[in-house]
């Protein structure tokens, strides 16, 4: 046992500091993908799979001409709106479904069904009710993202042992505190998984949703590029989606993950 009360704490902290510079295999994810891309691209004509530098050049042109900004901005706002709403809604529904058996039984079949319905089927109804524009797009994004998120969060909540909850209750945690201080940290790994899945689904839905009269956005770039056979534009769009994913991975998902990585893998 360490006599100096500070000693163990400090060593602990130092250890954590050192770990920050640790090697991580994630550094290789994107580079290896680029290599595979470059090699594959040599096997196909450029109008099917252009080389990395062609896409880079295309990107450069879009940036120089300034054409890219409205697309980026449009999609960004839509993702923020749709995904943001999906986070709120999936947390609410996921947790309620985790707590309440009746609600869980009721919602799970609907969940599976709604997940399976392609955005194209929503579009006409949405259009009629909400018109063309931001609202419709973020709703389509929301519907696509929220369902798998609810399911994942729900399973995460169900996995929390009643003992932990009891301990917190007897320590005086009110409903809201229980949520913030027990349910949320305990299910954080699954909330993160839900965020990752939901974020990706949101992008995918966006590509479809931006077809409904948006005429701008990264999804529109991809879809129109695919439609007219402009492979560079398609890949530029994909690269931009990848960039967004990377950004969110670094700025949101990874930091959350760091929070529980230590105690979970210990």
């Amino acid at each position: 046992m360490l006599g100096n009360p500070q000693a163990a704490a400090d060593v602990n902290k130092l250890n954590r500091k050192v770990r920050r510079f640790e090697f991580s295999w994630s550094w290789f994810s994107i580079p290896s993908l680029l290599v595979v891309w470059m090699i594959t691209a040599t096997q196909f004509p450029a109008y099917i799979l252009p080389q990395v530098w062609h896409v880079a050049q295309e990107g450069y042109e879009w940036v120089v001409s300034g054409d890219i900004w409205p697309h980026l901005q449009g999609s960004f706002l839509e993702i923020i709106g749709g995904f943001g709403l999906a986070i709120v809604l999936s947390l609410i529904c996921g947790f309620v479904a985790g707590f309440n058996k009746g609600f869980r039984e009721y919602i799970v079949p609907l969940n599976g069904l709604f997940m399976a319905i392609p955005p194209i089927a929503w579009a006409p109804l949405m259009l009629i009710v909400f018109g063309i524009g931001y609202t419709t797009i973020i709703l389509v994004v929301l519907i696509s993202a929220v369902n798998p998120m609810i399911l994942t969060i729900m399973e995460g909540v169900l996995q929390i042992t009643s003992q932990e909850v009891r301990a917190a209750r007897v320590l005086g945690a009110k409903r809201w505190q229980l949520f913030v201080h027990v349910y949320l940290p305990a299910s954080l790994p699954f909330v993160t998984a839900a965020l990752r899945i939901g974020f990706s689904q949101a992008w995918r839905a966006l590509v479809a949703a931006e077809m409904i009269g948006a005429a701008a956005g990264v999804g529109w770039m991809v879809q129109v590029g695919g439609e007219i056979g402009n492979a560079r534009q398609v890949l530029l769009g994909i690269v931009m989606i990848g960039g967004f994913s990377y950004l969110f991975e670094r700025l949101l998902f990874r930091p959350i993950e760091k929070k529980y990585e230590v105690w979970r893998l210990a």
């Binding site: 902290k13 003992q163 105690w263 210990a266």
Partner: protein, 282 residues
């Protein structure tokens, strides 16, 4: 830090004609009565699986009695009651918090300021002999250390009704004795009502005002032993006295007796009947 100047006092806890079973299947209590005096230290012993943990869960309000009532100061108990403290049998620490943060948890829920709650938590943390392990992750603590964090967490709340389910089971003899004396000192100062489950008969006698021996379900209380050991108690003296030995022998006999209990043939018949009934209604 406990407000050592004033005795916060204990609670009057009553159990009236309590019936409880798990899903109608296994009846645990059929008409239990118990009156715990304010500030009393009540030891509870009984064979494994007799319903001790179940009793504490009923007292804490986690389970609803099927019939009868459990009341604290005349009111039904809720787990969230700030006067309630519970040391669980299985460690139920929060793995995402460090050891000391676990001890702070309840104080944080009360909205206590950071500096104050750290000070109070540190006090109880040191009390259980864990100084130096404040920042440890729970999974990096040994079984006994976890149990002590568990204990410190409940004590830090300074509850007036303290439910303890084998809190010292995983501690070595010496640490256990130290903990016993610390507990008595705190109890002496604050005067809580304590329900203390243990399998160590010596410990039960050493600590308690009364000792309740439970029989196999659904038997309820087999015997209630009033201890007349003088207070304050002191390890070597108390444990070697004549009276202590008398109590010990009597309790060993009780435990042996309840452990040997088997359902009588009448009970078996009743069970078979019940089974038949379910089959018919199927």
């Amino acid at each position: 830090m406990p407000s050592e100047s004033e005795r916060i006092g204990g609670e009057n806890l009553r159990i009236d004609d309590l019936w409880f079973s798990y899903g109608g299947k296994l009846s645990i209590y059929e008409g239990l009565n118990l009156d715990v005096r304010p500030g009393e230290f009540l030891g509870v012993i009984g064979p494994s699986g007799c319903g001790k943990t179940t009793l504490l869960n009923l007292l804490a309000g986690f389970y609803e009695p099927e019939e009868g009532a459990v009341t604290l100061r005349g009111q039904p108990i809720k787990p969230e009651d700030p006067h309630l403290g519970y040391v669980f049998q299985q460690p139920t620490l929060f793995p995402w918090l460090s050891a000391i943060e676990n001890v702070e948890f309840g104080l944080r829920m009360q909205g206590m300021g950071e500096a104050e709650r750290r000070e109070r938590a540190q006090h109880y943390f040191n009390l259980v002999g864990l100084m130096g392990f404040e920042d440890y992750l729970i999974v990096r603590l040994s079984g006994g250390m976890q149990q002590r964090v568990n204990l410190a967490r409940a004590l830090a709340m300074e509850p007036t009704l303290l439910l303890m389910d084998e809190p010292f089971g995983a501690l070595d003899a010496i640490t256990r004795e130290t903990m016993n004396d610390e507990l008595l000192r705190i109890w002496d100062t604050l005067g809580q009502t304590v329900l203390f489950i243990t399998h160590d008969i010596d410990e039960a006698i050493y600590l308690s005002d009364r000792i309740c021996v439970l029989s196999r379900p659904p038997g309820g209380i087999f015997r209630m032993l009033d201890s007349e050991l003088p207070r304050p108690r002191h390890g070597p003296t108390t444990r070697t006295g004549e009276r202590f030995w008398g109590y010990k022998k009597s309790l060993i006999n009780d435990i042996a007796e309840v452990t040997a209990q088997r359902p009588t043939s009448e009970e078996e018949i009743a069970l078979l009947k019940r089974r038949k009934k379910i089959e018919e209604s199927d």
